[in-house]
């Protein structure tokens, strides 16, 4: 799994490339620590290249969300595949932040 990060006009554009399983969700955690230190008003995660995410990976996104929302920042997910979209909807993640296909 890889992360490409670009920062522009207050947006943090993060492209995640590859599946997020238990092992590399730890890498996600480390990367998210770094992102939290940056200045941005909204983090946009592009998951076009993510075939699946385990609950451990989803957990990292939730922790990231909890951390930024407490500071008045926003988060959004885009480019998600149909399978993941259905899953995210089913566990109601869309109640927390926008999820776009």
């Amino acid at each position: 799994m890889e992360l490409n990060v670009e920062q522009q006009n207050g947006y943090l554009n993060v492209t995640v490339i590859g599946a997020v399983d238990n092992e590399n969700s730890e890498e996600l955690k480390t990367a998210f620590q770094d992102l939290l230190n940056r200045e941005f008003k909204e983090a946009v995660f592009d998951l076009t290249y993510v075939p699946f995410i385990t609950s451990s990976g989803i957990g990292k996104f939730l922790i990231f969300y909890k951390n930024i929302v407490s500071k008045g920042r926003k988060m959004r997910i885009k480019g998600i595949n149909d399978n993941l979209y259905d899953l995210f909807k089913s566990i109601k993640l869309d109640q927390l932040f926008p999820i776009e296909r």
Partner: protein, 304 residues
């Protein structure tokens, strides 16, 4: 193959000279050759003989044409190779026939050697396809059992391997099969961490900066023989209709009933660190069963 191992060919042409010529040529080469001068006769022979492996037919037959014959063969005999013989006048017809299911075509006038090459090429190709199908058929049935000590168990690795097996078995379209890797990972991780290592979800925290109590405890118990030497037993079965996965841990079990009923009632996002993996499993799997104690889980997924 039949007739003492000889491949069987049915030659169909209203020109008896051509039929005789091809019949004697292929008979000398060791083929079993059957002949017909009309599509009706060919259909009759195909329905009474099981030893025909390839049909060589003229397009311009009296009555029903070679194209009609092709259509009937595709409907009744499946993928048996059909090679059409055609004059230049019907070349366009032959090309569109190949598009609609003919295996190949040969233009008249032809050399017998050319026919032999085309026939042999397509018989070889068909044999390869047939064997491949046999392999896939046999791959539809699978029964595997695994047993691991907790200290040596890697849920991600085994999940990938089982997912690869489902891909090879063509259990579902590839993009849908990937979702099962998540199901396997969640199930194995639950058995390992919450079952055998008895790690409480309450030890997880929202901290990204430091190691959580959960991670500390996980490492500690993986080095403690009382937990690390517990076994995880796995049975994986796949048949043409479904796959099933049974995972048994040696932990104290859990109150599965309150989680099992939860899935269809999710109204609100679960931001806590427990139950999410199980929600994912229930989202993708058709049936989830537990034993009374809650240390054996069986998942069943019907073939898509």
């Amino acid at each position: 193959m039949s007739h003492n191992g000889k491949p069987g060919i049915l030659v169909v042409d209203d020109d008896e000279m051509i039929v005789d010529l091809i019949e004697s040529y292929f008979s000398e080469l060791g083929y079993y050759v059957s002949t017909a001068t009309t599509a009706e006769d060919a259909i009759h022979q195909l329905s009474h003989e099981n030893d025909i492996h390839l049909v060589l037919s003229d397009i311009g037959l009296p009555g029903r044409s070679g194209l009609d014959l092709l259509k009937i063969i595709r409907e009744t005999k499946g993928e048996i190779p059909v090679i059409l013989l055609t004059g230049m006048k019907t070349l366009d017809t032959a090309i569109s026939a190949v598009k609609s299911g003919a295996t190949d075509f040969i233009t008249k006038p032809f050399k017998l050697e050319t026919i032999r090459q085309v026939v042999e090429k397509n018989l070889r190709k068909n044999e390869r396809i047939r064997r491949k199908k046999q392999v896939y058929e046999s791959l539809k049935y699978l029964n595997m059992n695994f047993s691991f000590f907790t200290y040596e168990f890697n849920p991600d690795t085994l999940s990938k391997e089982l997912t690869d097996i489902l891909k090879k078995m063509r259990f579902a379209p590839e993009e849908e099969i990937q979702q099962f890797e998540v199901v396997f990972t969640e199930t194995f991780t639950n058995a390992m961490e919450h079952g055998n290592l008895e790690l409480p979800s309450s030890a997880k925290s929202d901290d990204l900066l430091f190691r959580t109590e959960y991670e500390e405890l996980r490492e500690q118990r993986l080095n403690d023989p009382r937990y690390a030497n517990r076994k995880i037993q796995i049975a994986f079965e796949c048949n043409p209709n479904l796959f099933s996965l049974t995972v048994k841990d040696e932990g104290p079990g859990f109150e599965w009933k309150k989680y099992l009923d939860q899935h269809h009632k999710i109204m609100k996002v679960n931001t806590h660190a427990f139950g999410r993996g199980f929600n994912i499993v229930q989202h993708y799997i058709d049936e989830v069963h537990f034993n009374q104690k809650g240390n054996i889980i069986t998942l069943i997924k019907n073939r898509i």
